[in-house]
């Protein structure tokens, strides 16, 4: 039980996928302008992350490892992730058109979101069991959503802030991201 707890804490806070491992920066900066859109993006990425984590683990364990074709890992994982994203896109388009519109181009971009592939590969590297893979993927998804929500909350306030003209928009967002990343460094001594 303690093992799982450590996985959760370390994935969400200490090795936060965005703020400590610098994966998935594109949606982090792209979809963090509105709280509602970032929540939707967090949800979509979470779903893809968890399902992709389980599927990639299964493919690795039952296909790549027995036949000693581990060198196909990257291409096989990308294939899985791309298909999943397509699937999520169809479902969202059908059942939640407003969210589909709010996410826009970033939804198909989950395909190339390195956070998804990154977590899938970390799962394999650490030689987790299926249960741990699910917990680990879910925790990283939660960490991603947390970073996105924090960022969007800050950026919604930045809208009203008196920012020098040359710093408005992306520059101040990048400065904010850097400060958040440094703040998350404080968690490194937690465990």
């Amino acid at each position: 039980m303690q093992e799982y707890f450590i996985i959760v804490i370390s994935a969400i806070l200490i090795n936060n996928i965005v703020l400590s491992q610098f994966l998935g920066i594109c949606p982090f900066l792209g979809v963090s302008k509105k709280l509602s859109a970032s929540l939707g993006m967090g949800g979509a990425v979470s779903f893809v992350l968890v399902v992709a984590g389980a599927l990639t683990w299964a493919v690795q364990t039952y296909l790549l490892n027995p036949y000693h074709i581990g060198y196909l890992q990257t291409i096989a994982f990308i294939l899985i992730i791309a298909s999943l994203v397509q699937f999520v896109e169809m479902v969202l388009k059908k059942y939640s058109p407003p969210l589909y519109k709010a996410l826009g181009i970033y939804l198909p971009l989950i395909t190339t979101n390195c956070a998804v592939l990154g977590v899938a590969i970390i799962n394999i590297q650490k030689e987790y069991t299926l249960g741990k893979v699910l917990v680990h993927s879910l925790s990283h998804a939660a960490g991603f959503t947390l970073a996105l929500l924090l960022m969007s909350g800050i950026r919604e306030r930045l809208e009203d802030a008196d920012i020098p003209e040359s710093m408005q928009g992306t520059p101040i967002a990048l400065v904010t991201a850097a400060l958040m990343s440094m703040a998350f460094l404080g968690f490194s001594g937690l465990i």
Binding site: L63, Y67, A76, L79, Q86, F87, M90, V91, K94
Partner: protein, 293 residues
């Protein structure tokens, strides 16, 4: 090798089948009118309608959240097609708008205080002593409007000022938004008389800076038969402004203006005038006979 090929192909096939089934199951019915509308759009994605592009405009049209005449490049002909596809009532079409430059202070007219040789950009030129001209109101002559125009309707003339081609101009508002001096204005294409100066300084000062400045003499105001032009307070001073609602294109103000600040555009060719004069779907074959008569 064979195992590798087979396993990847197998994975691909499985996911392909799943996606194929899902696309059938989760198919969303798209309004066929959106496709039709998209076909008749200009496709420049200029954004003058306020939407991110032609596709978004087409969707908004079907949802009836925008007015069908919001597309400036499409003009009256597109309005007609949209109305036909949507099957809505046709109301009077707004007149076509084109960009007018409110400055005539080109090389030779305006007094220069230095020679600008920096980056070819109006915003950059303005940062250096508010441009190379002594007049701080007029055109900066670096051609930002010309570069931003998606239709190639603005060319830089020999005197350094941009020249708008009224055939190509679609009134998309891009240059108006780009101009740092805000001296480009969208005006209905039927209006020919324009006060091409926005200098609000006293007459003497303005004249010292530019030969074609408005000197606030009010001669235009006194001579206008339709009470359309007035010297009105603007900024810290005043400047002559034409009320296009009242102007009848008589040209008296332009003829009387001592500095030539009021400019009378040459009567536009039949093609341009016809487009503005015609109401959509009024049954007129647009032969032009009524115009030449």
């Amino acid at each position: 090798m064979l195992v590798a090929v087979l396993s990847l192909a197998g994975l691909g096939a499985i996911f392909g089948i799943i996606l194929g089934v899902a696309s059938k199951k989760f198919a969303v019915e798209v309004d066929p009118r959106v496709e039709e509308l998209l076909k008749v759009m200009p496709g420049a994605n200029c954004g003058s309608c306020g939407m991110p592009g032609c596709a978004a405009f087409a969707e908004a049209l079907v949802e009836e959240t925008v007015k069908p005449n919001a597309c400036a490049p499409g003009g009256a002909s597109l309005y007609e097609k949209i109305a036909a596809i949507l099957g809505t009532e046709q109301s009077a079409y707004q007149e076509r708008q084109v960009a007018q430059l409110l400055c005539q202070g080109g090389v030779g007219h305006a007094k220069m205080i230095y020679r600008y040789q920096g980056i070819k950009d109006c915003h950059a030129a303005l940062a250096n002593f508010k441009g190379e001209k002594s007049c701080n109101f007029g055109c900066v002559m670096q051609g930002s409007c010309s570069r931003v125009c998606p239709f190639g309707a603005i060319q830089m003339g020999a005197d350094g000022l941009p020249v708008v081609d009224y055939y190509l101009c679609t009134g998309c508002n891009r240059c108006v938004a780009e101009c740092p001096q805000q001296i480009l204005q969208l005006v209905g294409v039927s209006h020919l008389a324009h006060v091409r100066c926005v200098n609000t300084e006293k007459g003497k000062d303005a004249k010292a800076r530019c030969a074609t400045a408005c000197i606030k003499c009010k001669i235009c105001e006194k001579n206008c038969p339709s009470d359309a032009v007035h010297v009105v307070p603007a900024g810290t001073g005043s400047v002559a402004v034409i009320d296009y609602e009242k102007c009848t294109n008589c040209g008296i103000c332009a003829a009387k203006c001592p500095t030539g600040a009021i400019d009378m555009t040459a009567p536009l060719s039949e093609e341009v005038v016809l487009e503005m004069a015609e109401q959509p779907a009024s049954g007129c074959p647009q032969c032009g006979a009524c115009n030449t008569a």
